[in-house]
């Protein structure tokens, strides 16, 4: 297979690594039935670190031994702005290619594959509403234990809501002191309208002081003392 190899650098910071491990654990707690496979990572507004959360969560899941696929579903962002560079899935007419095996990239992290929808599609909305996309999800579910979709912010385009409606659960990424309460409420309403199931909120970039406070209240920092 002509798979390209994508370099993904795992987080070296112990505290951050542990924070993602805890998020992974929370996902497993919500997955008692075992049918939680596809998760959309989305934010209300851009630039709160959605892609960072998606990548690191994918790494954490892969490290726990789950065969994980991270999908870059942001078809609006030009290629040069993409964090990870890999082969993109684009059919003849800007279509979505569902041949996941051929279009997914292996990464430097074992168990973790990466797939990008690319940015050359004429009409991302039509594409996400097409049977091709449903087929893609079915295919991905068959091949992987977990599929994470990194999507553009809800405030900019509807793409994320469309993907969320077709995945098992949604994780909303917010930033303390930056994300507005109103936009979080609106995002939750928007997702509910799209019949998406919200798994919960991930708060990104918490300052150290707050992190220690919350980690303690979660009875989690104890072992560092």
């Amino acid at each position: 297979m002509l798979n390209k190899y994508v370099n993904i650098y795992a987080q070296v910071n112990r505290a951050v690594q542990d924070a993602y491990a805890l998020l992974t654990a929370n996902i497993h707690f919500s997955n008692s039935t075992g049918d939680l496979k596809t998760v959309t990572i989305i934010s209300c507004t851009p630039k709160v670190g959605t892609t960072t959360v998606a990548i690191n969560l994918a790494i954490s899941l892969a490290r726990s031994g789950w065969k994980t696929l991270m999908v870059d579903a942001d078809m609006r962002k030009p290629g040069t702005y993409k964090r990870l560079v890999g082969k993109e899935t684009q059919g003849e007419n800007g279509d979505l290619d569902i041949n996941i095996r051929e279009f997914s990239n292996n990464t430097t992290i074992p168990n973790l594959s990466y797939l990008s929808y690319g940015s050359g599609h004429d009409n991302p909305i039509e594409l996400l509403c097409s049977p091709k996309f449903s087929e893609f999800i079915r295919e991905a579910r068959r091949e992987y234990d977990f599929v994470l979709f990194d999507t553009p912010a809800l405030s900019s385009v509807i793409d994320g809501a469309l993907i969320a409606s077709k995945s098992d659960r949604v994780i909303l990424v917010a930033e303390m002191g930056k994300t507005k309460k109103a936009s979080l409420t609106r995002a939750a309403e928007q997702l509910e309208k799209a019949q998406a199931n919200i798994l919960g909120v991930v708060i990104n970039n918490i300052v150290k002081r707050d992190y220690v406070k919350y980690a303690e209240s979660y009875n989690y920092f104890e072992r560092f003392k």
């Binding site: 951050v16 998020l23 959360v53 994780i171 002191g177 708060i203």
Partner: protein
């Protein structure tokens, strides 16, 4: 007398600005706020990357 009035006015304006800033801050400030006011579950908190 003038000095006193000036001092008082200074305090009032200073604290007034802080108060108004707090009132106008509509961002999420705590986990409790998200869980109780917005009725959403917080499933993860990720620290800044430079934290040790």
């Amino acid at each position: 007398m003038r000095v006193l009035i000036g001092l008082l006015a200074g305090f009032l304006i200073g604290f007034g600005i802080i108060y108004i800033q707090e009132l106008l801050d509509t961002t999420v400030r705590s986990i409790e706020e998200i869980e109780e006011d917005l009725n959403l579950k917080v499933i993860g908190i990720i620290p800044e990357h430079q934290i040790k």
